[in-house]
Symmetry: C2
Subunit: 396 residues, 2 copies
């Protein structure tokens, strides 16, 4: 056991974060992280909490009063949604077509739920008929939970039919929008979503550490009707809402600096405007896809199902997944993600989330790939990717 | 639902944080918070994780391999310790003499434990005979859990006898050292503590958001011997240890910036040296107590049980607790804490934690109290507090 500290400040290497998150953080948000602290019951902090709730409602597209950041990363938001809405023995239908649906099922089972999986292959959506069939296998489903943006595969799950099906079965409709929030429409109230959760480090471009969550009237009614305490004290919304509500009852010490950062990230988001932000994400996605196609690469998801902020690309036959990612990181300082689960070694995941979604970043990545791929077994015209992307931007 | 963001950057008011946490943060740590992000599997971040584990072992006084920060605040550390070590039906003995013992019992019951409370009045320690009696009421106690530094009362719990008693009953000995770690000796290995958890925002003087935890060989053996999954996925140490260990298996996206900050806070702590840091906390505590005494205030805890970093002071009869705290905040920009639970309105809690524990801060608070208290019904010599503290410093 050594008592000698490292002699140097940690020097983060220069990185362009184009993986599945965290994304690039706006300098204004980084500056907010370094502001001096106030107490978690300070009047100034209470004012910041109120504005944060208001801005979170705007990005979720909801008037839900219970809209707050959970003091953990996106996965804590996932667990919070489940443990607050589930009691032991409840039937829960979960769409499983990637890592996060799988995780949801695991979390729900740990909470004592009887999980019915609505399964689809990784890289595809869970079709409405599969969801209907799964609901049909239950007696009294408590929840239907779907992953809006499956970060592990790049698939955008349609929500309309599923929401209708859930409500026909008197189940609450819950969505994971960790990767979608702030990058494409989520529209909690318009769709009729009962509960949704997200993370800060994707399209909101804030460092990881908080998980925005929103509970609508039916979800809150479920919370009130519980017959036993929420199994997690830390994530118990019946207590958290008293700290974030009028009462300001101390629960845990809020992560002050992370809340400063979220506040500033939401300001940046709303200053840009949600529609403009969505358009930016769509455009850069389209330019990236055109460029990848020109380099001879193939997207792993059907066009109409693709996420704008997380692009899943097939690793070409004969190309070493990890070697290409390593070259990108070491030569060009660009991080992209590898595949997970059954897609490990078979896909790359390119994130264009929040501040990471820019034309410059698309061109920089395409130029790097054009240079690196031929050395790793994929013959291609080095400049073709950038040129194809340029044509997309020029056509606007 | 308004889409218009606040027009201004959040301006944190100037505060001197002398409450129960968060404490003042070192400028080097604030600077670390604003560093650009890298990915949670970036080789540079992996190196930072390894150094962080090494430094955490040094401050805990342990060689335990499983010593990591949990991605939540101190209360998440509390819940992690319990849910990882408890299975439904397990008997757990918990010392309850304040808010945090009460919380531990609540968390353990939510995890399905049969909780036996070893109770003592708030403001006193839990005596060894009470602990022995509580252990005697169990058949096969799984854990004995005590709060080393009860932040709600300012009491330092002795650990030696309790540790021996726990092990005589073949129970694991678990301690909450949220407020003590980095401010007074914790000595996990020397004492024989099996598991301990803390928070970053007290004597480590890092912003709130992470909870250092350490599990010794017996606790790890218990973890391995579990017959069912940990009820919390987010806090499941069997999975977290694979991310923080050699395998680097993705679990959740680590809060990158908070880990930068903890790294730097640990560097600051070890550069000062643990013994020097403890001595500083003790000296400033002694000077504060002398000053408060000279102002006619009375400590709420017996001398030999007082924490150095959290000073619990009786609110004099006829003095309005909240009015004095408001005057301190508004006139002098100093935050101190009020009492909790049965001590609400009856005590003030003055934190001298980490960067907050300085002679200048002691003098500034005593001067402010000397000026404010006479206006609120306590006749005192305004300068007596500062003079008494000066005598303590001069006597060294």
């Amino acid at each position: 056991m050594s008592l000698i500290p490292p002699s140097e400040v940690f020097p983060p290497p220069e990185r362009l974060l184009l993986g599945p998150g965290p994304s690039q953080v706006h300098p204004r948000v980084l500056a907010a992280m370094a502001l001096p602290l106030v107490g978690h019951l300070d009047p100034s902090f209470v004012a910041l909490m109120d504005e944060t709730k208001r801005m979170l409602r705007a990005v979720f597209g909801t008037t839900n009063e219970l809209t707050i950041p959970i003091s953990g990363t996106g996965s804590a938001g996932l667990e919070a949604a489940i443990v607050n809405l589930v009691e032991p023995g409840d039937e829960v239908v979960i769409g499983v077509n990637g890592v996060f649906g799988t995780r949801l099922a695991d979390v729900a089972e740990r909470a004592g739920a009887v999980v019915v999986r609505a399964e689809a292959p990784w890289g595809e959506i869970v079709p409405a008929e599969t969801i209907a069939a799964a609901l049909g296998r239950t007696k009294k489903p408590r929840l239907l939970v779907l992953v809006h943006a499956e970060t592990s595969t790049g698939v955008r799950q349609p929500l309309e039919d599923a929401c209708r099906l859930a409500h026909e079965h008197d189940a609450l409709f819950v969505i994971d929008c960790v990767t979608s929030l702030g990058g494409c429409p989520v529209d909690v109230d318009r769709l009729g979503v009962d509960a949704a959760y997200s993370g800060t480090q994707k399209c909101l471009s804030c460092p990881p550490g908080l998980a925005p969550i929103t509970f609508g009237p039916r979800a809150v009614a479920r919370l009130r009707a519980r017959t036993r305490k929420v199994q997690s004290w830390y994530l118990d919304l019946t207590m958290l809402e008293k700290y974030w509500g009028e009462e300001r009852v101390y629960h845990h010490t809020a992560p002050i600096s992370m809340n400063y950062a979220l506040y500033e990230a939401l300001r940046v988001t709303l200053e840009e405007g949600l529609e403009a932000r969505f358009t930016r994400h769509r455009r850069n996605h389209e330019a990236l896809v055109a460029g990848l196609d020109a380099l001879g690469l193939t997207m792993a998801v059907a066009p109409e199902r693709r996420l704008w902020m997380l692009n899943s690309v097939r690793v070409p036959a004969g190309v070493d997944d990890a070697a290409v990612r390593r070259a990108l990181l070491e030569e060009d300082r660009i991080e992209i993600g590898g595949g997970l689960g059954p897609l490990k070694g078979r896909t790359w995941r390119i994130g264009l989330m929040g501040e990471s979604s820019t034309g410059d970043n698309v061109r920089r990545l395409l130029a790097a790939l054009g240079r690196i791929l031929p050395r790793h077994g994929l013959a291609c015209d080095a400049g073709a990717g950038v040129a194809a992307a340029a044509r997309v931007y020029a056509a606007e």
